[in-house]
């Protein structure tokens, strides 16, 4: 019912079926897709044509009686067995070679570690900088080492035609080489719970020379930015905002709005007042003190945050006055 299967892969523009290709592997994948598409269209049209012809030509309403024909024909049956067999073999071969290209990174890749967690991607660059988006240089092969903190996620960049599951307790990897500067979507492609569809990140492909500059700036944000601003950035990149709002709404965790100086009660009945030491404990050993009315689900950040970063976050929280 109504298809326009013409594939128009023009450089920089998407086609009817595919987003604009932006990696070295993408055009090859698209070629495989197109081949299968044309084969499929051919056979589909063949089936439609034969069917329509038979329905019209041999319609009983026209007084047509059935004729006795052969009930089997070895030559015909062999033909429509062998030809599809050859075609699927070709499709398999094209799919396989295209895949081996996707699966085999070249030597000298730029490596970034990727961790998926509910519901955020975190990228750790070779210099130790952690970011919530993936920045890569143009025309450089990049290799991602993927894992998960909790359940299975999947790292999917449609523009690059790459996808690989991020599995807890194991490392997987994928590689790509970006060919177009710009920003591209990263989706999570393995269902992982409530905010599976919000687990979106961006790949930012920097023109030559600009990537190094970005990395340096980003890595030094603690030095360059005021502590409170740096803290704000950390609150986003480290996933705090997934569970703690800053607008007063209670979420999986208590809201950060007005948190500094807040008084309350823990689950075990003890009273608390939020100050620097409390916040530090809450970040490094969250299970030891649970606010009444909330569940003990916060992961610990011990070993994952520097002292300077914790200080920045505390400064930021102080600015969230009601």
């Amino acid at each position: 019912m109504g298809k326009m299967p013409i594939s128009l892969i023009r450089f920089g523009e998407g086609s009817f079926w595919m987003p604009a290709p932006a990696s070295t592997a993408a055009p090859a994948v698209d070629r495989v897709f197109d081949f299968i598409l044309y084969v499929s269209i051919f056979f589909f049209l063949l089936i439609v044509a034969l069917m329509l012809f038979f329905i019209i030509r041999y319609h009983r309403g026209r007084g047509v009686e059935a004729e006795k024909t052969a009930t089997h024909h070895t030559g015909l049956e062999l033909m429509w067995t062998v030809i599809p067999l050859i075609l699927v073999f070709i499709i398999f071969y094209l799919g396989f070679t295209g895949y081996m290209n996707l699966a085999t990174p070249p030597a000298n890749t730029y490596e970034v570690n990727v961790v998926g967690q509910k519901w955020k991607w975190l990228f750790t660059y070779p210099n130790g900088h952690v970011d919530d988006n993936l920045h890569v240089p143009l025309d450089v092969p990049v290799r991602l080492v993927l894992t998960s903190e909790d359940v299975i996620h999947s790292f999917f960049v449609p523009a690059f035609r790459v996808k690989k599951d991020a599995v807890p307790g194991r490392y997987t990897n994928l590689w790509f080489e970006a060919t177009e500067p710009g920003e591209y979507d990263v989706f999570c492609a393995e269902y992982c719970g409530t905010s599976h569809s919000d687990m979106i990140a961006r790949v930012i492909v920097h023109p030559p020379g600009e990537f190094e500059k970005w990395l340096q700036d980003a890595s030094n944000f603690l030095e360059r930015m005021a502590p409170a601003d740096a803290g704000a950035k950390l609150m986003t990149t480290r996933g705090c905002k997934q569970c703690h709002s800053i607008d007063g709404k209670s979420n999986i965790g208590p809201t950060f709005l007005g948190i500094y100086g807040r008084e309350g009660v823990f689950k075990d009945g003890r009273r608390y007042t939020v100050e620097e030491n409390y916040i530090r404990r809450a970040i490094l050993d969250p299970q030891s003190e649970i606010v009444a009315g909330y569940e003990p689900v916060m992961p610990t950040y011990k070993g994952r945050l520097k002292d300077q970063e914790i200080t920045a976050m505390i400064e930021y929280l102080k600015t969230l006055k009601e």
Binding site: M1, G2, K3, F16, W17, V29, F33, I36, L37, V39, S40, F43, F44, I47, L50, M51, I55, Y58, H59, V64, E65, A66, K68, T69, H72, L76, E77, W80, T81, P84, L85, V88, I91, L94, G95, G98, Y99, N101, L102, A103, V151, I152, S154, F156, P158, K163, K164, D165, V167, P168, G169, R170, F187, Y191, C192, G193, T194, H196, S197, I200
Partner: protein, 548 residues
């Protein structure tokens, strides 16, 4: 003389009251109970589908929050797969038709058959209860470790599926033994109707694959309840092992779904073209080939899971091998229509829809079997469209075709052809509207199981939802037509469509014991000896007509 029997002594009137139905040993009554239950769950699953499509009209929240949406799509999948499509054609029509097609009085193990139905009911109750206890939100695939850690009612739903698995296994055992041991004299394997070849191949898969699902779900349940640690990475377990176990069953399961549908196709195309089926042996053996090959390809659901490149390559190659027997069938059906005398009655409209829709479904499988393209398309709406074209455009369409084909035999009533054709047309249109745009959405990168989505995908979603509402209307017309026929339909002759398989040789509806004396089994596709008799609105043997 009117072809219908007196109202007394048919299987519907033989004994009244709840107990005579719920504890019956009559395969026909069991088939009817299955049909009613299965159709009910089709509607329930369809209701969940309408909720999904309505929510997806807009990105962000439309009518429900994210957690509810996740539960709704899980239930849609689980209900449709475990309660509708897997029991589907074998339970609702196989049970009724199989013994009669063999000229037999019942299946080999009538009590086991009743047990199958009771297990279905119990499994259904567990599944429905799970909805009320905090519905599952894992997706119908229950991937670990999400399913071992989520706080929803995974145990009761998987327990329900476990019990339903045994219902399926026992039906499979029954069908295999019945076909092996209870064929009439004259019905060699080469004279077996193709619907029975299909049921036989299906039963082989049911019997061999379902126990593996059983142990998988059992392990999942004890993992949740006792923390055994087989699939939990925090305890040294392997979540990918779960995927291997799960798909080892669930891939053959899709052939449990499609093989009976293909069997129905062989019957419908032949009868409504008034022609002997073309390539009988090829169709029969291709069913068995599909059954065997189906066990070798499960890894194609796991190409991006971290499975080795070698594993990926082997599974991809084997996946393409399974395509060939299906292609053979399609060409054989087309060749059957050649120089036939084709009547576009409602069952035939469904058969033709199947050819087109399953054709698209099968061809889009090529994209997914090829490694390079699957990496991009896996877990996107392309896959969703593919399996809806095969399972819905294929199996459901064949189910509806079977229902309209055997309805006169089962209930002794003819329905309105006009309404039947209208519904078939609306189903075809609504279905394509709903699902074709999903192919494009998927290849453009829209992942599946997404509550929220980027704005640029909205036009596809809107088109899809419109199609869903057309489908809903189609089902109202369809169900209304059939139910109306039960009360006001013209009485059906023994053989309204002119088929040569044995179930059409007894009255519509059949008597309690099917046949007083088993009829002679000839070539089930020799249609020449049947002629249409205007006075009864059905077909009779040529000699009877000439003698009258």
């Amino acid at each position: 003389m009117n072809g219908s029997t007196a109202v007394a002594d048919n299987y519907l009137s033989h004994g009244r009251g709840f107990r005579s139905w719920f504890f019956t040993l009559d395969h026909k009554r069991i088939g009817v109970m299955y049909l009613a239950s299965i159709f009910f769950f089709l509607i329930l699953g369809g209701f969940f589908a309408m909720l999904i499509r309505t929510e997806l009209l807009t990105p962000g929240r439309t009518i429900m929050d994210a957690d509810t949406y996740n539960q709704v799509f899980t239930l849609h999948g689980a209900v449709m797969i475990f309660l509708f499509i897997i029991p589907g054609i074998p339970a609702a029509f196989g049970n009724f038709v199989l013994p009669v097609m063999l000229g037999a009085k019942d299946v080999a193990f009538p009590r086991l058959n009743l047990l199958s139905y009771h297990l279905y009911v119990v499994g259904a109750i567990f599944s429905v209860v799970s909805i009320l206890l905090g519905a599952v939100d894992t997706g119908w695939t229950f991937y670990t470790p999400y399913s071992t850690t989520t706080h929803t009612s995974v145990v009761s739903m998987t327990l329900g599926a476990f019990i339903l698995g045994f219902s399926s296994i026992f039906t499979g055992i029954n069908f295999i033994v019945t076909i092996h041991r209870m064929r009439p004299p004259g019905m060699s394997w080469n004279r077996l109707p193709l619907f029975l070849w299909a049921l036989y191949s299906t039963a082989i898969i049911q019997v061999l694959a379902t126990p593996v699902l059983g142990i998988t779900l059992l392990l999942l349940i004890v993992e949740r309840l006792l923390g055994i640690g087989i699939f939990d990475p925090a305890l040294g377990g392997d979540p990918v092992l779960y995927q291997h176990f799960f798909w080892f069953y669930s891939h053959p399961a899709v052939y449990i779904m499609i093989l009976p549908a293909m069997g129905v196709m062989s019957e419908l195309i032949s009868v409504f073209s008034r022609k002997h089926i073309f390539g009988y042996k090829a169709i029969a053996y291709s069913s068995v080939a599909i059954a065997v090959l189906s066990f070798l390809v499960w890894g194609h659901h796991m190409f991006t899971s971290g499975q080795s490149d070698l594993g990926n390559m082997i599974f991809s190659a084997l996946t393409f091998s399974v395509a060939i027997p299906s292609a053979i069938k399609v060409f054989n059906w087309l060749a059957t229509m050649y120089k036939g005398s084709i009547r576009l009655d409602t069952p035939m409209l469904y058969a033709l829809s199947f050819l087109l829709l399953f054709g698209i479904g099968g061809l889009t499988g090529l994209f997914l079997g090829a490694l390079a393209t699957d990496v991009h398309l896996h877990d996107t709406y392309f896959v969703v469209a593919h399996f809806h074209y095969t399972m819905m455009g294929g199996v459901l369409i064949a189910f509806l075709g079977a229902m309209h084909y055997w309805w006169p035999k089962m209930f002794g009533r003819m329905y309105s052809e006009k309404a039947g054709r209208l519904a078939a047309f609306l189903v075809f249109v609504g279905f394509n509207l709903t699902f074709f745009s999903q192919f494009v959405m998927g290849s453009q990168g829209m992942p599946r199981r997404y509550y929220n989505y980027l704005d640029r995908f909205q036009p596809y979603h809107v088109l899809s939802t419109i199609g869903a509402y057309v489908l809903a209307v189609a089902f109202v017309v369809l169900a209304g037509n059939l139910i109306h026929s039960l009360f006001r339909g013209r009485k059906a002759p023994a053989n309204p469509w002119g088929s040569a398989t044995l179930e059409w040789m007894c009255a519509s509806p059949p008597p309690h014991d099917n046949f007083a004396e088993p009829p002679e089994a000839g070539d089930p596709y020799d249609l020449e000896h049947l002629v249409y008799d205007e006075s009864i609105g059905g077909y009779v043997p040529r000699t009877a007509r000439e003698g009258a």
